[in-house]
Amino acid sequence: MSKLKKAIQDIHLSDVSQKGQRGRGRGEAGSGAEISLHPLAYLLVTFFYLLLVVSFSKYDLSGLLSMVLYLLILGIGREIRLREALRHTWPVLLLVSMVGIANPFVEREICWQWGEVGISYGIISMLTLMLKGIFCVMASYLLVMGTGMEGICLGLRSLHLPKELVAVVFLIYRYLIVLLKEAERMVLAYKLRAPGQKGIHFKVWGSFLGLLLLRSMDRAQTVYESMLLRGYQGEIRGREFRGSKGRSVAYVCLWAVALFFLRVVPVFELVGALLP
């Protein structure tokens, strides 16, 4: 399977939002009407998590580590494999890992000596910043994989964000699919007429990209016309929430308490202290 096809498939898989649906086989996604928890609940918990993660000081590495528990619990609960998650997010993770890479050269004061090896404040702050970035990316990834873009849009609308803004978020997401599909078609057509050639020759990159842009815009226009013809007037009216509001509120409250606990109690430090 080509990388483009795989990317399109991955985007569609993120549409299969709720827990348990991932394993339904041949593209069954569960009724769009059945959402057990309001997407706003997932959205609020993720926002709260992000806020708490960035609130750690740059030397509080042991405290920050306890925030990984949220990601582990959510990942296991939503049946998302670590390998799959890393494959999807590695370019972004690589980028966020670069933040603070210069810190060891700036802050050289040793804060912890382990035998011959001294750990400087710079290394601690670099690791903390790296982890903060990684945790934020993974939490956002879990939100998208668990709730789906349509769910996130429903959540954003529940927060009374302007409908135009939510529609833009949704349409950009859909345009991405259109763009990838057009790119897949063009690459396939190129490969079939250029056997033995590895990749696309750099001489045609310019015209290839230009044509890709024009074709995808043309296609996006047709999709937009299709939306207009079905009554679209600037607001995405996605799936409806018919689950329990009480359960959604309970979900937010429980996670808020749990996350606050993880924020104030350095779990790993405590476990380390208990060890002989």
């Binding site: 569609h12 549409d15 569960g30 349509e150 296609r219 999709v223 079905r230 009554g231 007037q233 996605g238």
Partner: protein, 241 residues
């Protein structure tokens, strides 16, 4: 239901692709729009749906003048099935896509559910309501795109090449479904056998002009007329079908 008088249309003020067309379609009629490539079939359908652009002449759809201020009201009564199902279906699952129209027209809860299920039953896709669109076959996608329109319960259906890319089984199924739909239909197609099976009236377009407007039997049996305008007799009438 649809009335156009002396309609002329050109893309970007260039050479007109539709010249001085006049046509009236009554309620419940099934009209086949045939013609060679570039005859103006799709352009005419798009104009009637209000996505073509500015035109000269008069056009009325469902008793309303086809102009910008009436577009929302007209589109609420009109369903358009695109030639390419990929353009019609843009949400994640069949259910979501079929529910898109009703939700935009304010139907929620059980009413939206009922409309979706009724539409899916009509195209025999009720078992695939939770199927992800990208995992569907071409035939299933075509039927799903028809369901997206049926769920809006339109008074008029405009179908652009509905049988394209369908295998014989799915094509036969589509013809059966189209015959079950009682609403006014205009079907633009090169598939003259399908037009023969679904439309009582046919309009032959050539170079943006109406060459012949009459009963399907009369037009599709006229070998010379069809061949003069880049078409051929339907296979079912040649003895080869």
């Amino acid at each position: 239901m649809i009335r156009i008088e002396n309609l002329t249309f050109a893309y970007d003020n260039r050479i007109p692709v539709l010249h001085d067309l006049s046509l009236a379609v009554q309620e419940g009629e099934a009209v086949g729009l045939i013609g060679a490539n570039g005859a103006g079939k799709s352009t005419l359908l798009k104009l009637l749906a209000g996505i073509g652009g500015d035109y000269q002449g008069k056009a009325q759809v469902c008793g309303m003048e086809l102009c910008k201020k009436n577009l929302t009201a007209i589109r609420a009564k009109l369903g358009y099935v695109f030639q390419d199902s990929e353009s019609q279906l843009f949400l994640s699952t069949v259910y979501e896509d079929v529910a898109f129209g009703p939700r935009n027209y304010g139907y929620t809860g059980e009413e939206a559910d009922r409309r979706v299920m009724d539409a899916l039953k009509k195209v025999h896709l009720e078992g695939l309501k939770d199927r992800q669109i990208y995992r569907m076959s071409g035939g299933e996608k075509k039927l799903a795109s028809i369901a997206t329109i049926l769920s809006m319960k339109p008074d008029v259906m405009l179908l652009d090449e509905p049988s394209v890319a369908l295998d014989p089984g799915n094509r036969r199924n589509l013809i059966h479904i189209l015959n079950e739909i009682r609403e006014t239909k205009i079907i633009a197609s090169h598939d003259l056998d399908m037009i023969w099976d679904t439309c009582s009236r046919t309009v032959l377009l050539c170079g943006g002009r109406i060459v012949k407007d009459g009963s399907t039997e009369e037009i599709l049996r006229d070998r010379k007329l069809l061949e003069d305008h880049g078409l051929e007799l339907p296979l079912s009438l040649t003895g080869r079908g």
